[in-house]
Symmetry: C2
Subunit: 201 residues, 2 copies
Amino acid sequence: MAATDSFLDAPEDTREEIMRATYLALCDHGYAGLTIQRIADHFPKSKSLIYHHYDGKDDLLLEFLEFVLDRFEETVSIEGADGPEDHLRAVFDHVFATPLPAERREFGRAMVELRAQAAHDERYRDYFTRHDRFFRDRLAAIVAAGVESGAFADVDPAATATFLHTSIVGSMTTRATGEDAAGTVREGLEAYVRAVLEADA
Amino acid sequence: MAATDSFLDAPEDTREEIMRATYLALCDHGYAGLTIQRIADHFPKSKSLIYHHYDGKDDLLLEFLEFVLDRFEETVSIEGADGPEDHLRAVFDHVFATPLPAERREFGRAMVELRAQAAHDERYRDYFTRHDRFFRDRLAAIVAAGVESGAFADVDPAATATFLHTSIVGSMTTRATGEDAAGTVREGLEAYVRAVLEADA
């Protein structure tokens, strides 16, 4: 998400105001530091309204994640204007942006923490399974279009997408928890695309 | 780590007994569910001894992570018996083991949770930065040996290792938090090794 997202600039209703406040509080404090009070600090209305709608922090965060997924599904385009090769590279441009703008970096860290909840909480696991599937399906559609057009070799789009997606998750994870190697990972994926996808195409 | 590790089978002193109890409690309850009491449940001596040595859960966990890193450094061999190609594939065999034994799966989930602490805790971030560097350096040494021997093309060992390592982290992360695609990720890395590393070798 970017600062230009409409719910951040001009939330349309109470729900979008709560989503905006949750987003800002997550960027400021991460998952561990998040409290309803800290969300309320970014909310222009009464804190009791948040309690009225949500049964605590995780209930609100799971709703927030659904909201994020809906927006993600709307903003990830299915067809690239300039063909599958350029479309794939446009995805890389976004995912491996270097340096990462501060707000995306903070939100990325919070998302790594939220994903880790999935290790022992089925509700988060269900969410990230669906989120991952959506992203992989979009990547698979790009690869399939490339196979169809002859730009890519006759690879398995779903398996290729899973590999690309896993490398992207790894990059987002190490970027948030260790050293940021996004540029190097992108070069590795570019080498993979040239040598495996575009090899016999 | 495996159940055959000596500190699990036969801890040699109080410290190893605490490390063993921490490992077992982490496998049972994960990071979020971990308490000193739950560690004490696996510790044959008095709980007060744990409090005597450690200032709470994170202090103990950071010590535990150092213990894990020391053992990891001892067990990851520098030289493969059968050359760099087989050495790299032996690393893949271990990392992408399918199906993952239950204990490694539980510990893997806990490690994903511990890594997520690095998003907002410098002590964990420092640890995972060092842990990642160690693993990448070992992978780079394998790649460098392959370039040296002529088994691999003239690639940059450090950059190649970073790419491999990031895919491995991605696989460990999605395996713990979504769908387990380790087999597919391994196939993708095998394709990368064949097409990029072994191409012009």
